[in-house]
């Protein structure tokens, strides 16, 4: 059994890659990817599809509880409500690869469209005859490529670029970032750096040198840092603040390790579209759903207490809260995916939605902070009523007068 297979051939002088404009990375209902030219195992084929869904092999959380990549493909496609999977320029892809792909999609509502280059459709139809492909005319394509920018964040941050943000002294930070980063990434760094620099300079001018104490600095900077979503942004904000203090004749030492540890304690109160999208990197449904619940406002204990019945009830009517806490629309695909994966274990309705020891939730959140560069982690260590207040240790900032 296989998914419906459609073949469409690009006109002469039009590359088949143009069909990629039908996919939209903001909306995974239609995804496109370029299959390889070599034979791959079923797991390799699955990895290609998962990669098109934003799953990254570079983050942890791979294939737990026996869900391998092959079984995860229909789960994630269904969870994201993907209706079309476009394989671009598959003319040199082995037919076994395409056969495995079609079989893999059979358990999902997705249709497989093979968009080949001009002159290859006939061979493709012959090679894939057992799949009964349907040949359709080349579709009308939008003239513009879909935008991948997030709507609700002023400076769009690409979490995949986080490891190239230079970790250098504040005096050389901006120049090094300009030197090392691609222009688009640098623009995002520049925007945040400039914003924090201006605000810190203003604060320093307003309070005057006689009132700049370590306690006042800590209070002011905690407020600034609490706005940041990722550790990269915290890093950039810290460098900008140090630059501002230097400009006013202060040397501000920041213990990054202490700062980071404190930041881990509480979830960011700024959850942007980028935060939700970054969860796509997880293949493992349990970890993705845990982070999604957490970002929706559930405490770790609430996540532990969720049952399969709770998830199923929410799935039946997503407008209703999940155990009293509403689920953000962006969180829905991750919870759906986990429900589908969990159902494959044939649990009873009272079984926990997330299997594993109590500390699993904490470990997952801490790991997600690391994997995705997000400020989430050991929130459970503090009672719920202390949420929303970042903890910045008293020894994080040290001031020395330079003049």
């Amino acid at each position: 059994m296989s998914a419906p297979v459609i073949i469409t051939e690009a006109p002469a002088e039009v590359p088949a890659t143009r069909v990629g404009s039908l996919a939209d990375s903001n909306d995974l209902t239609r995804i496109a990817f370029v299959p390889g030219t070599t034979n791959r195992t079923k797991a390799g084929v699955a990895a290609d599809v998962l990669s098109a869904l934003g799953k990254s092999p570079d983050v942890n959380g791979k294939a737990r509880h026996g869900y391998d990549d092959v079984s995860l493909v229909p789960i994630w496609l269904t969870a994201h409500r993907t209706t079309d999977v476009y394989a671009i320029a598959p003319q040199h892809t082995p037919s076994t690869y395409l056969g495995d792909l079609a079989t893999m999609l059979a358990a999902s509502p997705a249709t497989l469209t093979l968009a080949c280059d001009h002159g290859y459709a006939e061979n493709l139809v012959a090679d894939l005859a057992p799949l009964n492909p349907t040949v359709v005319p080349w579709p009308d394509l939008p003239s513009d490529w879909p935008s991948t920018e997030n709507e609700d964040s002023g400076h769009v941050w690409d979490p995949s670029a986080r490891e190239v943000v230079p970790d250098v002294e504040f005096l050389t930070f901006r120049a090094t970032a300009q030197d090392l980063l691609p222009s688009a990434a640098f623009r995002a760094v520049e925007a945040l750096f400039g914003d924090v620099l201006d605000r810190t300079l203003l604060w320093l001018t307003q309070v005057g040198p006689e009132n700049v104490t370590e306690a006042a600095t800590r209070a002011a900077l905690t407020e600034l840092l609490a706005e940041q979503v990722t550790f990269d942004e915290i890093n950039i904000a810290v460098k900008a603040a140090q630059t501002a203090f230097f400009h006013h004749g202060w040397y501000l030492t920041v213990d990054q390790r202490e700062l980071r540890a404190g930041m881990l304690r509480f979830p960011s109160h700024v959850v942007s579209t980028a935060s939700w999208r970054s969860i796509r990197a997880y293949r493992d449904t349990a970890r993705a759903a845990t982070v999604a619940c957490y970002l929706s406002g559930h405490s770790p204990q609430q996540i532990r207490d969720l049952t399969v019945a709770d998830l199923a009830a929410w799935h039946a009517d997503p407008a209703t809260p999940l155990r009293d806490a509403p689920i953000h629309p962006e969180a829905a695909p991750y919870l759906r995916a986990h429900l589908f994966a969990r159902i494959s274990d044939s649990p009873t309705s009272t079984d926990p939605a997330f299997v594993g020891a109590d500390r699993r939730v904490l470990m997952d959140l801490r790991q997600a902070g690391d994997d995705l560069g997000l400020n989430l982690g050991e929130a459970n260590l503090a009672p719920a009523d202390r949420h929303g207040q970042r903890r910045v240790g008293s020894r994080v900032f040290r001031l020395a007068r330079l003049t």
Binding site: A12, P15, T17, A23, F33, G36, T37, G44, D117, W145
Partner: protein, 280 residues
């Protein structure tokens, strides 16, 4: 301009300093430094072909498409492409393909030229690494010299790489393929045609364009009898600019006075041809 420093710059010893063992460890083979554009010639002379190539390179970079520049050995394709690349507001990665590489070796060469770090051990991983690198560095343009050495399967992988970029970001990675007789080499991958903004065939330079080129790199040729130049070209160089440049370099190196003027003399010409082994 954001091109990498040339190999010449990277390997030049600072004036007055003897080569330093720490700077030049024995294990470092500077001839294998990858990714850098070849050093510019002392004098670059525009020709109709080089101007055409310059336009082609610019068009490929602007559109994010492939470009093919094909022509026989020694007509100045690589020099013209490198010259055009130096003027681009792009990070240009120069990839010199080794003779008859496997697909993995082709990908390794591209990776090492882009990052100057060792490639992963598996072909699929190298391909993924290249894709990720190109996604993060969207201002990269690839100049692939001696592209005729790439196998048909290698070209398919290269096209696949371009496809991945085009599918992910709406624009492919600019790839300028330079080589001898490329149309034949590309027969197995006809779809490259739909991804190429331009295809240029350049041939040996002849006539007034050749003499203008010669006059730019060696003003004495302008004063030399045209029949002598015609004969030299017909018998020895056949419009190959590389051979002409080599010949004129030998003449210049062995002239009596450093600022010698006037037409090239018969004895000079004969001596230079002898030294190059072009006559017995």
């Amino acid at each position: 301009m954001t091109t990498h420093a040339s190999a010449e710059e990277a390997t030049t010893t600072p004036p007055g300093n003897a080569p330093d063992q720490a700077l030049f460890p024995e294990s470092l083979d500077v001839t294998r430094l990858r990714g850098y554009l070849p050093p510019p010639p002392p004098v670059f002379a525009e020709t109709p072909f080089s101007m055409l190539i310059g336009t082609t390179v610019q068009e490929a970079v602007d559109s994010g498409e492939m470009a093919m520049i094909s022509g026989p050995v020694g007509v100045g394709k690589s020099t013209a492409v490198a010259q055009a690349a130096r003027d681009l507001d792009k990070t240009v990665v120069y990839v010199l393909m080794p003779d008859a590489p496997s697909v993995k070796a082709s990908l390794e060469t591209i990776w090492e030229s882009m990052t100057r770090t060792a490639a992963a051990s598996r072909e699929t991983q190298i391909r993924r690494d290249i894709e990720n690198h190109l996604l993060r560095h969207q201002d990269v343009a690839l100049v692939i010299d001696d592209a005729h050495y790439i196998s048909t399967r290698g070209l398919r992988v290269l096209t696949n790489l371009w496809n991945s970029m085009a599918a992910l970001r709406g624009q492919g990675v600019p790839m300028i393929l330079v080589g001898n007789d490329l149309p034949t080499a590309l027969k197995g991958v006809p779809e490259i045609g739909s991804r190429s903004v331009t295809r240029r065939n350049v041939g040996p330079l002849a006539g007034e364009a050749l003499y203008a080129f010669l006059a730019t790199i060696e003003p004495r040729t302008a004063e030399t009898d045209r029949d002598v130049l015609v004969l030299l070209d017909r018998q020895h160089f056949r419009g190959e600019l590389r051979k002409w440049v080599q010949f004129l370099n030998v003449v210049r190196r062995h002239q009596q006075q450093p600022d010698e003027a006037g037409a090239l003399e018969q004895t000079e010409i004969r001596q230079a041809l002898l030294r190059q082994g072009w006559i017995g």
